[in-house]
C-alpha cells in the first residue's frame, strides 16, 4: 500500500515537473545597484527591462515561452557584483546575463560569465576592457569608453578654432574614469595639446575644491570632467564653478552629467556644460521614436540612454532566443544561445546591432563588440535645464554655444 502510494506520488510529481518545464519562463539575470548611491540607475534599468519583457510576453513570448528578468542588487560594489552574478548563474539558473550598470562591476560579472560559460550581453557599462579581454561569452551592444569622446573629438577637429590651447583632465580612479581619461589624453597628446592637469580622484570625494584650486592655478582653456558617480559629477562641477575656473568649455563624461538631477541640483551652474557621453538612439528612427513615446506613456519619465539600452538589450536577447532551440539542458542551451548571439544582425531602439571582432580607437582588440559602435557617439549641451544634442550636426536638435559666455560665475 505504502509503495503504491509513493509510486503514485512520484508519477504525479513527474507530470507536474514536466508541465512546469514546458511553461517555465526563460530567465535573464541582471545584477544592478538597487540600493546605495547608484540606486537611481538600477531603477532605470528595472523599468526598461520590464517594458520590453511585458511587450514581448504580451505577444506570446519567445517561441511560446515567457521571458523573466531577475534583478539582483550589487549595491555598486565590485566584489558583490561577482557574488550576485555567480548566484544568478548557479542558484537561479538563468540562461543569460545582462546589466551591470558600471564598468567596475561589469568586468567582475564578465569574468564570472566567462568562467561559468554563460552569455553576458552588456547593455551599458563601457570600459574597453570588458570586450577587450578576448572573452567569447561576453557581448556588448553599447559603445566602449574610448568611443564615448568620439563626438567631442570630431567637434574639436571640425569646428574652426575649437581646438583648445590647453586642457585639464579630472577623472575618477574607477575603470570607467581611467578609460575615458586615457582616451582623451591620448587624443590631446596626438594633437600636441598641453595637458596642464592630469588628476585622478577617488570615487565619492567629499570636497573637490582642492583639486579645482590646483586646476585653476594652471588656467586651462578647456576642462574635461569625468565621473562614474552622479554625486561626484554634480559636486565637481559645482566646486569647479565655485572656485572660478574660467574655461572656454566644461565638458563632462559619464552618466552623471546627463541625468536630470544634474540640472535640477546645479541650476544655473549647469548652463552650457557639455555632456559627451550618452548615445540614446537616433530620435528620428521609428523604433526609437516609438520607444520614447511608450516609455513616457508608461512611466511618465523621459527616457535617456540607460532606458533605451536596457530596453533594447532585452530585444537583442529575445531575437537570439528566437533563433535558439532550447533543450532544457542548461549548458547546451547557453552554448546554443551564444552561437545565436554571434549571428545577431538587427535594428533596435538603440541602433544597429551586430557583434564582431575589431580594433578600437586606442588599438584595443574587441571581441563581440557591436560593430556599429563608432556611429553611436553624440555631444550634448545643457540649456535651461534641458540636455540637447548639439553635435554632430546630423543628429543635432539645436546649435552649440561655444565658447561658454558665462563661464565665470
Amino acid at each position: 500500500m505504502k509503495r503504491t502510494l509513493s509510486c503514485l506520488l512520484a508519477a504525479v510529481l513527474a507530470t507536474a515537473a514536466s508541465v512546469t518545464l514546458a511553461q517555465e519562463t526563460i530567465k535573464i539575470g541582471a545584477p544592478q545597484p538597487m540600493t546605495g548611491p547608484d540606486a537611481p540607475f538600477g531603477d532605470k534599468f528595472k523599468k526598461a527591462y520590464s517594458l520590453a519583457v511585458d511587450e514581448i510576453n504580451a505577444k506570446g513570448g519567445v517561441n511560446g515561452r515567457k521571458l523573466e528578468v531577475i534583478i539582483e542588487d550589487h549595491q555598486a560594489k565590485n566584489p558583490l557584483a561577482a557574488t550576485v552574478a555567480e548566484k544568478l548563474i548557479t542558484q537561479y539558473k538563468v540562461l543569460v546575463l545582462t546589466g551591470g550598470r558600471a564598468s567596475g562591476q561589469a568586468i567582475e560579472i564578465a569574468s564570472v560569465a566567462q568562467r561559468l560559460k554563460t552569455p553576458y550581453v552588456v547593455d551599458h557599462p563601457s570600459a574597453d576592457a570588458i570586450t577587450a579581454k578576448g572573452f567569447d561569452w561576453v557581448f556588448r551592444q553599447n559603445p566602449t569608453g574610448s568611443i564615448y569622446p568620439e563626438a567631442f573629438h570630431k567637434f574639436l577637429m571640425e569646428v574652426p578654432g575649437a581646438m583648445p590651447k590647453s586642457v585639464a583632465v579630472v577623472y575618477d580612479n574607477s575603470l570607467f574614469g581611467k578609460t575615458i581619461g586615457n582616451a582623451n589624453m591620448a587624443f590631446m597628446k596626438a594633437k600636441n595639446i598641453p595637458i596642464v592637469n592630469d588628476e585622478a580622484y577617488p570615487v565619492n570625494t567629499l570636497d573637490f575644491r582642492p583639486i579645482m584650486t590646483k586646476v585653476k592655478a594652471n588656467n586651462p582653456d578647456m576642462l574635461l570632467l569625468i565621473a562614474v558617480s552622479t554625486t561626484d559629477a554634480i559636486l565637481m562641477t559645482r566646486h569647479a564653478k565655485e572656485i572660478g575656473i574660467n574655461a572656454r568649455a566644461f565638458v563632462g563624461f559619464g552618466g552623471g552629467f546627463g541625468v536630470e538631477d544634474f540640472a535640477k541640483q546645479l541650476g544655473p551652474l549647469a548652463e552650457n556644460v557639455f555632456s559627451s557621453a550618452a548615445w540614446a538612439g537616433n530620435a528620428n528612427e521609428p523604433l526609437t521614436k516609438a520607444f520614447n513615446k511608450n516609455f513616457l506613456a508608461t512611466y511618465k519619465i523621459q527616457p535617456h540612454e540607460h532606458e533605451v539600452e536596457g530596453y533594447s538589450v532585452i530585444y537583442v536577447i529575445a531575437d537570439a532566443l528566437q533563433r535558439t532551440k532550447l533543450t532544457g539542458n542548461l549548458e547546451a542551451d547557453r552554448e546554443a544561445l551564444r552561437q545565436a548571439l554571434l549571428k545577431t544582425d538587427m535594428q533596435t531602439a538603440f541602433g544597429k546591432t551586430k557583434f564582431g571582432n575589431w580594433s578600437g580607437p586606442l588599438g584595443d582588440a574587441y571581441t563581440n563588440q557591436n560593430i556599429y559602435s563608432r556611429d553611436h557617439s553624440v555631444m550634448a549641451q545643457w540649456r535651461g535645464g534641458v540636455l540637447m544634442d548639439v553635435y554632430p550636426k546630423a543628429g543635432a536638435v539645436t546649435n552649440y554655444i561655444f565658447p561658454d559666455p558665462g563661464s565665470k560665475l
Partner: protein, 288 residues
C-alpha cells in the same frame, strides 16, 4: 600665493566639520569607553532631518539646528537608556559589535523608508560664493564653519564651567571615584551619549547644504572621523579638534601640492607617523 591661501581656507573649512563629528565620537569614548560605530549614521540622520525640514517645511537648514540638535540629543539618550545601557558592562568589544549592528540597522531602515536616492539641499545663498582676496569661499560652508566653532566653544564651556560638565569630566577620568563622590554615573552616561549624538546630528545638519545625502553616506564620513579621533588621542576633545583641522589641511594641501590620487594616502601616512612617534595620539594622555 592665491592657490596656497585657497587650499588652506578650503582645508580649514572642511576640517572644522570633520572636527565637529570627531568631538562627538571622542567624548562618548572618553566617558563611556564605547567606540560608537553608529556615529556616521547619526550624522546621516542629522542630514536627513535638515533635508526634510527644508523640503517639507521650508525651514532653512541652519535654523533647523534648533530642532534637530535637541531631537538628536533625546534620540541619543533613548538609545543609551534602552539599547546600549544594558550592554556596557560587557566590555568594549561587545559595545563595538553592538554599535556596528546598530549602524547597519539605522542605515538599512533609512534605505527602506527613504530609498537609496541621493538628495541635496539647494539654499538660495548656495551660489555664488564670497570672493574675499580673490579666493572663493562657499557661503553655506562658511556659515557651517562659524556655527561649528560656536557649538564646539559652547560645549567647551559646558564641560568646564557647569556642574554637569564637571561631572562628565570626572566620570571620564575615573567612573568609580566619580560614583563615590555622589555622581549618578548612569545619568551622566545618558547625557554624554545624548551629547555625542547631538553633535553628530548637528554636524550632519551643517554639512547637508554643502554635500549630498543618502542613507549610507555615514560610511564615508565615519572612516575619516576615526582617523581624526585616533590622531588627536582617543577621548581628547582638543585632540579631536586639532586632528580634524589637521586632516582637512593635509588633504587639501596634499591634493594641491602632491597629487589628488594620493590625497587619502597622505592622510593615512600622517596618521601612521603620528602614531609611530606618539602612540597615544597628539593630545592623548595614554592609559591610566
Amino acid at each position: 600665493m592665491e592657490t596656497i591661501l585657497q587650499s588652506v581656507v578650503s582645508g580649514v573649512l572642511m576640517g572644522s566639520l570633520y572636527a565637529m563629528i570627531a568631538v562627538g565620537l571622542t567624548i562618548v569614548f572618553g566617558v563611556m569607553r564605547i567606540i560608537n560605530m553608529a556615529h556616521g549614521e547619526m550624522v546621516m540622520l542629522g542630514m536627513f532631518g535638515a533635508f526634510w525640514s527644508f523640503t517639507l517645511g521650508g525651514i532653512d537648514p541652519f535654523v533647523s539646528l534648533l530642532i534637530w540638535m535637541p531631537a538628536m540629543f533625546a534620540f541619543g539618550m533613548f538609545v543609551q537608556r534602552f539599547l546600549l545601557g544594558k550592554i556596557i558592562a560587557g566590555g568594549e568589544l561587545n559595545t563595538l559589535l553592538y554599535t556596528a549592528g546598530l549602524s547597519l540597522l539605522i542605515a538599512n531602515l533609512a534605505l527602506l523608508f527613504w530609498t537609496g536616492d541621493y538628495r541635496n539641499i539647494n539654499v538660495a545663498y548656495g551660489s555664488p560664493p564670497m570672493r574675499p582676496f580673490g579666493i572663493s569661499v562657499s557661503v553655506p560652508l562658511a556659515i557651517a564653519f562659524v556655527l561649528a566653532i560656536a557649538i564646539t566653544t559652547g560645549l567647551y564651556f559646558f564641560l568646564s564651567r557647569t556642574d554637569t560638565g564637571r561631572a562628565i569630566r570626572a566620570t571620564a577620568q575615573n567612573p568609580d571615584s566619580a560614583a563615590l563622590m555622589g555622581i549618578n554615573v548612569a545619568r551622566i552616561d545618558m547625557i554624554t551619549f545624548g551629547l555625542g549624538t547631538a553633535l553628530a546630528g548637528a554636524a550632519g545638519v551643517l554639512l547637508a547644504p554643502s554635500l549630498y545625502l543618502y542613507p549610507t553616506v555615514g560610511e564615508i564620513l565615519v572612516v575619516k572621523c576615526f582617523v581624526v579621533v585616533v590622531l588627536g588621542g582617543l577621548g581628547s576633545i582638543p585632540g579631536a579638534i586639532a586632528g580634524g583641522i589637521l586632516l582637512g589641511l593635509v588633504e587639501s594641501l596634499g591634493a594641491v601640492y602632491v597629487s589628488v590620487a594620493y590625497k587619502d594616502t597622505i592622510g593615512f601616512v600622517l596618521f601612521l607617523l603620528v602614531l609611530l612617534f606618539r602612540p597615544s595620539g597628539l593630545f592623548g594622555a595614554g592609559r591610566t
